[in-house]
Amino acid sequence: RRVEGKVHIVYMGEKQHNDPGMITDSHHHLLAKIVGSKQKASELMVYSYKHGFSGFAAKLTESEAKKIAELPGVVRVIPNTLHRLQ
């Protein structure tokens, strides 16, 4: 699955409260729902965005990305891309 999975950004918009720990927990919880376990969610999680806004980056297959996109609170799930220096 590591070969299959690509980094996706799960964007959840403005954060709903100011406790970064709780926000990160909610991200793990959400991911665990889709991938089956908290341990697996921890393995796949790349970043938890918890200060300026809410969301996370995780290695996901296309089908997992589609499932997460349908969960409440998720605005969009979008693949990671590259930027360049100017």
Partner: protein, 663 residues
Amino acid sequence: TTRSWDSLGLSYESNSNLLHNSSNGDGVIIGVFDTGIWPESKFFDERGLGPVPSRWKGVCKSGEKFNATQHCNRKIIGARWFIDGFLAEYGLPLNSSGQTEFLSPRDANGHGTHTASTAAGSFVGNVSYKGLAGGNARGGAPKARVAVYKVCWNLLGGQCSSADILKAFDEAIHDGVDVLSLSIGFGIPLYADVDERDGIATGSFHAVANGISVVCGAGNDGPSAQTVQNTAPWILTVAANSIDRAFLASITLGNNKTLVGQALITRKENAFTGLLYPESHGLDPTASAICQALTLNGTDAAGKVVLCFTSMSGRIAITSATSAVREAGGVGLIVAKHPSGALYPCPGDFPCVEVDYEVGTKILFYIRSTRFPVVRLSPPKTVVGKPVSAKVAFFSSRGPNSVAPAILKPDITAPGVNILAAASPLDEFADNGYVMHSGTSMATPHISGIVALLKALHPTWSPAAIKSAIITTARTAAPSGLTIFSEGSPQKLADPFDFGGGIVNPNAAADPGLVYDMGTSDYAHYLCAMHYNNSAISHLIGNLTKCPLQKPSVLDVNLPSITIPSIRTTPIVVTRTVTNVGSPNSIYEATIEPPSGVLVSVKPEFLVFNSTIEKISFQVTISTTHQMNTDYLFGSLTWTDKVHIVRIPLSVRTEMFQPYGND
């Protein structure tokens, strides 16, 4: 920067400019998203700086060849790196790229060191690059503090993943930066403003909502139209211009005529040597002398200077021609090409001079007119000031905005050609700790430094107010009064799609009189007008937002510009609101310079402010007399109280029928 700040009116010696009045940006924190930093550079010396601002919540993180205790100081107050998104996606570039890189904030590429020193470097006296561009160098806000967020990695010229950029935004918002400087972008076609693949658009929205100004480069895909990047209306998007400085090298021909080119040669004056143009004898009479395919087989190039022609604007043609001439035993190269302003030394400091086609053709005619042509290449001299005028750079990306044509981009232009600043010693062009680079990457930190000065002077101004002050006070003419030119083929007078409001004028921006301010509700207006759905907008801005059934017009977004991509027979009315940030009792009168064949009126024609009236809305009615599709035509609307001149650009395109692909 040995000239750029002086050219903008921010001389270090003056005691009456924005630099002085803002205490050199003391206390302001500039976050730089880039390739890291070379902390040993003199530009990051902490002498003369007070304690780290108490509101700072960021960290300095130790890593490979970067010791936080040793390398962070009162200038570099934050330093960390973000690579997990890059590694998770693309594997381990640090082992596989063949390029040096450090798993730490240390900058192997050099780009981040250059940009950070341009925005906030400390004063460094008496520097030069290979003996050229001598003077004192520094950042725009030399007492501002630098927070380094390394998000770009030294692979294929520098790559940055959107997952890492978003994480850097997330942390920077928490850390307490005031300004974010991003000399990075994404090529055409662009993603939507609410698409996280962009990373910069979404992250910057949250930064701006938290009062942080976000300054980004417009891109280097010019001079083609519709190539501007980082187009979200909350971003301050920066084009690049050359400054009033040139590096002129004399080319003396055997007939005693002297022509002039540009070069970064450091060698001493040569004696006269043979001059060669490799004439072709096949079906294509110019094939042998095309720089990128220079053919010197069968010619006696040893000990000679070679002339070649190219239509390529990048460095590849010059690099390739240098190798060919060197291999053939040649001693110099003259490259005839489109003038692009941006200079680099030729590989191995090989003597090479760039000329335009006219000069190149004169040299060619001389060669063809004599049996033994000779030439002498003299080392360049740095020429500064009046004889040289600033131009929008050839490479700088141009508008219109391909995502939302009604949102003018770029916003502003700033020096970005041949900028001398701090180097990483691993930068291939570095010379004794300094390097000259060109790009909108170099223009961006000039604006970031100016934003830092404005933040220090006006700490309560919103990012939109600062952006407005910068745009409405920008220069559209040279000090001589002549309109600014834009490099291209051919060159032309610059318009708002080249330079936005114009070339930044920091001292005027400090006291703009009126600002076109914006807040979250204005950005919601924009997002509704762009047909993003209620749910996406609500999540983005953090409040339940319901767009009105009749979608608002994107033309009414309260920007310091008016751009009408399509007007037909019906007049268009747009609304703007200005906030008085000058003297409370002021009366402003409108002056309109309409685009050719376009009728423009404004109501009311006078804006009367007092201690209770700080904001006034006005309406601009625009109609066209053209009966056919036109290209964009340009004008301006200016409010003045005889003290302040608050100018916004007008851009109007008549479309009597659906456009079919012109720009």
